[in-house]
Symmetry: C2
Subunit: 343 residues, 2 copies
């Protein structure tokens, strides 16, 4: 089966290639009647303009890129990225943009791919995830002038616009909630320490604990995996003055932590309260269901995609704050054990 080209459409419509191009792209230059006739013929013979030829003649590639630089192991289990992608897709496919995905080992590989994509003109813009402190990708993208929207921030994104949510506020709300429940020893199991949002959360955590006079506020770094989450939890719960509440930076670690608590004979929430970040169906599946900080991740991705498309179309996209994660109390949080109040 031969792929139809613009010339085939032109011939059947009895017009020139130029006219077909105008008709297809909604440009002035053809009468409305002709445009309709051309469109009808294009549909009839199943013509879609070659993206390569289009991109070559200066037009856009109609594709955006997304690079994931986490170990494959953690990628699979965290629902975050898949949800993000489905949100991005919803926005893109409505405008028939394609999403080009790449999974790489580390940041330097990621930068190399950006450079390659730029040279290949493969994508019109990119979405940047997992912003780090002093992120090396930002200056590179600025230098290449490759349209980019950062998912995360709002600081440390240079001149690149970003889409972000107020993690600090969400964390403050959570700590205050636990404080109101009587908890005085609260620990936090954080994600990868060089991710910017980890730093933001840690800072907010330290600040609010200080304000509330919680001296024992500890943050322990981890890597989002269940194994690490379990290990860290075991250590925290073995300490002399063990925390009465734990806040985890993702759902997987929280579930692992819940298992550890149960295995150590600590009832949740009677002896220990648990809060997970990134609410997901998983949090509702376990017993007790986890109190979690959730937000609409597909919508987050959709926002980012929309900003990027706007940027590609030449608008000057600004940073955009999305909803602050909401705390959904479930069975895993309760009043602090009374002994601990007096301790």
């Amino acid at each position: 089966m031969k792929r139809p080209t613009i010339a085939d459409v032109a011939r059947r419509a009895g017009v020139s290639k130029g006219a077909v191009s105008y008709a297809l792209n909604g440009q002035p230059g053809v009468s409305e009647a002709t445009r309709q006739r051309i469109l009808a013929i294009a549909t009839e013979i199943g013509f879609s303009p070659s993206s390569a030829a289009r991109a070559l003649s200066g037009a856009m590639a109609r594709a955006i890129g997304l690079i994931l630089a986490r170990p494959a192991r953690t990628l699979g289990i965290e629902p975050f990225f898949m949800e993000l992608i489905s949100g991005v897709e919803a926005e893109l496919s409505a405008r028939s943009y394609a999403l080009t995905l790449q999974v790489v080992a580390d940041q330097s590989a990621e930068i190399a791919v950006y450079r390659r994509w730029w040279g290949e003109r493969r994508v019109d813009g990119v979405l940047v995830c997992d912003l780090r402190t002093d992120d090396l990708r930002v200056p590179v993208l600025e230098e290449l002038r490759l349209p980019a929207v950062v998912i995360g921030g709002p600081t440390g994104t240079g001149d690149l616009p970003s889409v972000w949510s107020d993690d600090a506020a969400a964390l403050v709300e959570t700590v205050e909630y636990l404080h109101a429940l009587g908890h005085r020893r609260i620990a936090r199991v954080a994600g990868l320490p060089d991710l910017l949002h980890t730093a933001i959360r840690t800072q907010a955590f330290t600040a609010v604990c200080q304000r509330l006079g919680l001296a024992e506020a500890v943050t322990v770094s981890s890597d989002y995996t269940g194994e690490e989450g379990a290990r860290v939890t075991r250590r925290l719960l073995s300490s002399r003055l063990r925390p009465t509440a734990l806040i985890y930076d993702n759902d997987v670690m929280a579930i692992a932590g819940l298992s550890v608590a149960q295995e150590m004979g600590l009832a949740v929430p009677t002896h220990l309260s648990i809060v997970a970040w990134d609410d997901s169906p998983l949090c509702r599946l376990v017993h007790p269901p986890l109190t979690a900080l959730g937000r609409d991740i597909p919508a987050y991705g959709a926002h980012a995609a929309r900003q990027l498309l706007r940027l590609i179309e030449g608008a000057t996209a600004e940073g955009l704050e999305t909803e602050t994660p909401r705390l959904t109390p479930r069975g895993s949080t309760g009043p602090a054990p009374s002994s601990s109040l007096t301790a």
Copy 2:
């Protein structure tokens, strides 16, 4: 910053565009010394050939496509796809192929995207997931002569090569294992009924139960979500002669089922044994950890990608059987309750 073109490289190397093209593509026609010099200059000025121009001159687009046609809700939570993708990526990025991903609502949308991609010459081939019985995508892809590898099968793939694993054998092994543990009433919570692998598993389940004389072998359809898994489990466990063992078609439903059992006061594995398909870190996170049928999903994706690349390069790819899922016994399976043996 201006993107370098092949002409820039040619000028700096003092050769013609043609020579640069040959040098870059490993074609004969330039001396080894010249090739090295050209390559060095290309690297130095950061040149990557425009994928559009390349694709336009008859070469490949160096991209393959993958379409996911599941509701966004179930996409996020199942680690399967993300793991599959990371395996596919590993194979692709080694050859600097790009992966174009699209999430669509249903099969007809998927077919429309295939047609569009084909017209746009956007991808050189596609990977087809979630094969159905009488799958409509197969004839379309055959008609378009778009290179495609089916993930699943081995039947129902028409002339398209497939990558598959012997689910039937895995299921037989599982049932025999449960039978050896004394279980006589085994039920299965299946995935979406029109997926081909669901049909294959159901058929195998029915057959092996018949062979072992297990009359009460029930298969109930579900949709892979935790909610549905919980609902179905609740119904199964409320029946008069409740099963002593449950086999779930994915991990999420198994975990939901575990929660339901615990909520109904049934100890696992004392009163009820549970087996999950698709082993994942999740299965190890819950209590008791789930006995599961697992396989190396990234490797599965890598195999599929490799077959597709081979097909694109003109080889005639055959179907490829990958490892049969392995049963990993963990804490969720044990001897059948003695009362049930006599029942």
